[in-house]
């Protein structure tokens, strides 16, 4: 957001769009056509029909890059695609939450999923579009930001 020199719009949406708990100890499973690992940098890259499953959340992408810190801990999963998609089917959600963006990254240490570039999330008939949407697992909150060309828009259907 600082990059665009604009203020950040914060939308904390507890309802009707809602996020829920992930099983933090759950394994991350990744399937792909091929993969590459560069030991000095610790970066692993999966390409081709990438599917990442973490607890009840599934990411589909063309490419998934995994970044590690010098101690070998995973810092970031970065999924990119045309678009990359996310689907969560947590029991606490009334309906499955789906999202898509040009890139989706998961920051395990912060517990954040960030959708960037024509980001959209949808739950039931409710839709949020924004340049950037952040899903906070710990706070069970959804944040959206604007950039220089567009700002968030939300469509909520009456229940």
């Amino acid at each position: 957001m600082k990059r665009y020199g604009l203020c950040c719009w914060l939308l904390i949406l507890f309802s009707p769009l809602s996020w829920g708990h992930l099983e933090r100890n759950a394994p991350v499973e990744i399937n792909s056509d091929y993969a590459q690992y560069h030991h000095p940098t610790g970066v692993a890259t999966h390409r081709g029909q990438v599917k990442m499953v973490y607890s009840t959340t599934t990411l589909l992408a063309d490419q998934l890059d995994i970044y590690r810190d010098p101690a070998g801990e995973i810092q970031k999963f970065l999924a990119t695609g045309q678009p990359a998609t996310l689907e969560s089917t947590m029991a606490s959600l009334a309906a499955a939450l789906t999202g898509q963006a040009q890139s989706i990254y998961y920051l395990p240490q912060e517990g954040l999923f960030v959708l960037e570039g024509q980001a959209q999330i949808q739950q039931g008939a409710d839709t949020l579009n924004a340049p950037k949407i952040t899903l906070d697992i710990e706070q069970q909150a959804i944040y959206s930001e604007r950039d220089s060309t567009s700002r968030p828009s939300m469509i909520m259907q009456s229940h």
Binding site: N25, V28, Q36, H38, H39, Y54, P70, P108
Partner: protein
């Protein structure tokens, strides 16, 4: 007279017995040596074995005199007419600049080398091929497959199924290639990865 008649006979028997014992002893010695050095007796009979090394070790040092690579093997044998030498239990240790080291080993291999035996073209490792990397910081990881080709400049390649295990990671794939110098590994097909533990 009896003594005069029996003396040559006893002497002859003694010589024969000594000869037989010597022959048996020689056979036992040769057989023992052959078993010890693992040379197939049949190959010697046919005279096809051309070169043989037992418990060989080759070391390579860098310009500062530090050990870079060490290749050991239980035996290496080359048979006439074959373009490769058969290696039993090859074990390559590669010391990295960062203080870590990697090991590549297998139950057997075939070394294709130049005629002056100074350079090898490739080594095909077979049966329980393992590439291990030890690091205190990142933990140890091990890559296993049934066949792997090692090229000069330490490029590796296989079309076989591979698995990579690490305390927090399990990966399986079909086919792999890599550069042991740069630490870049590529898994070719059907890659399945599982990261475990708290992320």
């Amino acid at each position: 007279m009896l003594a005069l008649k029996t003396q040559p006979s006893l002497k002859k028997w003694g010589i024969n017995a000594l000869f037989i014992c010597s022959a048996v002893g020689l056979i036992v010695l040769i057989n023992g040596w052959l078993n010890e050095t693992l040379i197939p007796i049949k190959s010697l009979e046919h005279g096809t074995l051309e070169e043989y090394m037992h418990q060989a070790e080759i070391r390579k040092f860098n310009l500062q005199g530090k050990l870079e690579r060490k290749l050991t093997m239980k035996s290496l044998s080359h048979y006439q007419g074959l373009p490769y030498a058969t290696i039993i239990m090859p074990h390559l240790v590669m010391h990295q600049a960062d203080g870590t080291h990697s090991e590549l080993c297998a139950l057997r291999g075939q070394s294709y080398y130049s005629k002056d035996i100074k350079h090898f073209d490739k080594i095909i490792l077979q049966d329980t091929v393992q590439l291990r990397h030890a690091s205190k910081l990142e933990g140890n990881w091990q890559l296993s497959t049934e066949q792997l080709t090692l090229f000069p400049s330490y490029l590796i390649d296989t079309n076989a199924a591979v698995t990579l295990t690490h305390p927090q990671l399990h990966l399986s794939a079909t086919g792999m290639s890599g550069d042991l110098n740069s630490g870049k590994i590529r898994f070719h097909q059907q890659v399945k990865t599982q990261y475990q533990g708290q992320l």
